[in-house]
């Protein structure tokens, strides 16, 4: 009699590996951060405690909620700009490009930068937008500007541009997929019923692609919301975002409890957004059966 069969061990290992991974590298760290968020900052480091002072500080001190609001604003702008660029592009790919080879080529052109290092892609924008950068040189050369402008780099504009460029594949992908899933005969049916192409876009294609739009907006918003590299590389003095504040609480301020409380708030915001988006998508998907 064998109570435990050794030959099942590999299968068990395969199944439990992701679970162990999730517990070790997701659940436990979250738990640690959550615990820290109630601790107390005390020179030189911090001490265990259970108090809500860190959370109170976040909502009392303008520097924290101001940064949260700014982060939300930047994330919204990036999401909006990405949508504005990604939707027409995906629409063009799915409905206007006849050759499937050209279509997958153009699609890959948008997706391919994901394989290039984030830092490199952000650096590229520094060389484009800088005072002596490509764009300024061009504008001066064409005579549009008499002297290079400082307005292109190291401000929120350059952050939005860079973040949009970096995260736009996450907008294009779900929208492209959603548009591709729309049966072509629905478009034909709308035309057949007397609705011109723009009406079809508004009444049929847009509502049916909403799940993709919501998914893309969620990705883009959440990724931007947690970003800290763009502010470092192309952001100006007014470009600090919430993740930078968390970084400095863990570093310079040596205030892990406050940093943890901020991280918990950030996590909650992102989770709420994901949950909302999930509900919206579920509501929209009913239609597609």
């Amino acid at each position: 009699m064998k109570g435990f069969r050794l030959d099942r061990l590999p299968g068990l290992a395969v199944l439990s590996a992701p679970l162990v991974w999730a517990v070790l590298f997701l659940f436990i760290p979250y738990l640690i951060i959550f615990t820290y968020s109630f601790w107390l900052k005390k020179y030189p480091t911090f001490i265990p405690a259970f108090q809500f002072g860190n959370y109170a500080q976040i909502f009392a001190d303008p520097q924290y909620y101001q940064v949260l609001l700014r982060t939300g604003k930047i994330a919204l702008m990036v999401t909006g700009l990405s949508l504005l660029l990604a939707y027409p592009f995906a629409y063009f790919l799915v409905f206007k490009v006849k050759s499937s080879r050209v279509r997958s080529l153009l699609y890959m052109a948008v997706i391919a930068p994901l394989w290039v290092s984030y830092l490199l892609r952000a650096y590229i924008w520094k060389t484009i937008l800088g005072s002596e950068g490509v764009l300024n040189s061009f504008l001066v050369w064409t005579g549009i500007l008499s002297a290079p402008t400082d307005l292109l780099l190291y401000n929120q504009f350059s952050m939005v541009v860079t973040l949009t460029y970096i995260f736009i594949p996450f907008m294009v992908m779900p929208i492209f997929t959603a548009l591709e899933k729309i049966p072509r005969n629905l478009v034909e049916a709308a035309g057949d019923l007397g609705v011109p192409p723009w009406g079809t876009l508004a009444k049929v294609i847009w509502p049916l692609s909403l799940p993709g739009v919501i998914a893309g907006a969620t990705f883009t918003f959440c990724l931007t919301f947690g970003d800290f590299i763009a502010p470092m590389l192309v952001g100006g003095p007014d470009g600090v975002m919430i993740a930078n504040v968390i970084t400095s609480q863990y570093g310079a301020a040596l205030n892990w409890p406050l940093g943890s409380a901020l991280a918990v708030v950030l996590l909650i915001i992102v989770l709420v957004i994901i949950e909302l988006s999930d509900r919206l998508q579920r509501k929209d998907r009913i239609g597609l059966g």
Binding site: Q66, E132, D150, L254, N255
Partner: protein, 351 residues
């Protein structure tokens, strides 16, 4: 106190490269330090002579020491925090007392450094002073027909969008001096608030706060910045090497001085190699090594004199006690640190 952004990012890689030390190594020393403080130009010789293998991990800022040590794991044997951070290391219990009797050149190190409050607590010494310098100011020669002489030039509307400042609590020191508060390490809340408001008012003029040495170099080279503070000796040399003519200056409001010291991480098992390493760093090999690689001044002028050319010795103010005395040497802020960092964070967060 030298680093570049790329250097920070590839720290692990570099560490791996250094690991490929001599095969006959019978000991090791793991250091957490600034890039350039474990440069192969002098570390190679040490490894051969001592038989101690050196593995270095680099930090990008003084703020990196505490989190790395707080994370535990006894990965590092020695560290090189600056004088504003050393005392925190002591208070936090991250480092252990130094046996100065084991350091041959100990008494040749500037007394001002040896007796510094940042590395001494209750009559016990915790750090070995290594390299020092000024947080000087710097400008592009071609953009300033009249050379700037005051911190006020960083608040000059004329240079709007061309100013940079170190992304560090030292910004508070700078603004406080501009306000006429010379007790920059003992500011009260009102004075800190004053400095904070001054810095917020400066924000529209700021092109970018520089976070790493390399970033400031890039900002000058790309034409983005004309005037800023700087780690004297280091960045200006790099910028000049790239064809931009810059000049350092000590403003009439004076400059801060910094000092990096070697500190032994508590309970290191590699004490033998650690003291060999400290003896090397405080002797000619280490002292001229750091001066040549980074352009910083040496903490042991006796050793430095033996290996430096007179011009270099002179340029690094090694026999100029007045210069050293004029610098407002960094100090441990203790419990006040939070007020300073909080104010600086508030400046950055402000709209």
């Amino acid at each position: 106190m030298k680093t570049t952004f790329v250097g920070k990012m590839s720290a692990a890689l570099v560490a791996l490269g250094l690991t490929a030390g001599p095969a006959f190594a019978d000991g090791q020393v793991n250091i957490l330090t600034w890039e350039g403080y474990a440069d192969p130009s002098f570390i190679k010789q040490f490894e051969t002579e001592s038989g101690c293998k050196v593995s270095a991990t680099y930090v990008g800022s003084n703020d990196d020491f505490a989190p790395k040590l707080a994370a535990g794991g006894s990965v590092y044997d020695i560290i090189t925090p600056s004088l504003d951070t050393t005392y925190t290391m002591v208070d936090a219990g991250f480092v252990e007392p130094l046996d100065t009797s084991k350091i041959t050149e100990w008494n040749n190190i500037y007394e001002k450094f040896r007796k510094s409050a940042g590395i001494n607590k209750d009559g016990v010494t915790y750090g070995m002073p290594y390299a020092w310098g000024a947080i000087a100011f710097m400008y592009r020669v071609d953009k300033f027909p009249t050379p700037p002489t005051s911190i006020a030039d960083l608040w000059n509307e004329q240079y709007k969008g061309k100013v940079s400042l170190w992304d560090d609590k030292s910004a508070i020191y700078v603004a406080a001096r501009l306000e006429g508060n010379t007790n920059i390490y003992e500011l009260n809340d009102a004075q800190i608030e004053q400095a904070k408001q001054k810095l917020i008012a400066q924000k529209p003029l700021i092109r970018k706060y520089w976070a790493t040495a390399g970033e400031l170099v890039d900002l000058y080279v790309a034409g983005e910045v004309w005037i800023s503070n700087t780690w004297a000796g280091y960045q200006s040399a790099q910028i000049k090497a790239k064809g931009i003519d810059v000049k350092e200056f000590i403003p009439k409001e004076n400059a801060e001085g910094w000092l990096d010291s070697w500190m032994i991480v508590k309970d290191t098992p590699n004490k033998d190699c650690v003291y060999k390493f400290l003896n090397m760093q405080s002797s000619e090999l280490g002292q001229c090594g750091v001066a040549n690689v980074n352009g910083y001044s040496a903490a042991n002028p006796i050793a430095a004199k033996k290996c430096m050319k007179p011009e270099q010795y002179d340029a690094l103010h090694q026999d100029d006690p007045a210069y050293l005395d004029s610098l407002m040497l960094w100090r441990n802020l203790g419990a006040r640190l939070e007020a300073y960092t909080n104010a600086w964070n508030a400046v950055k967060a402000a709209n």
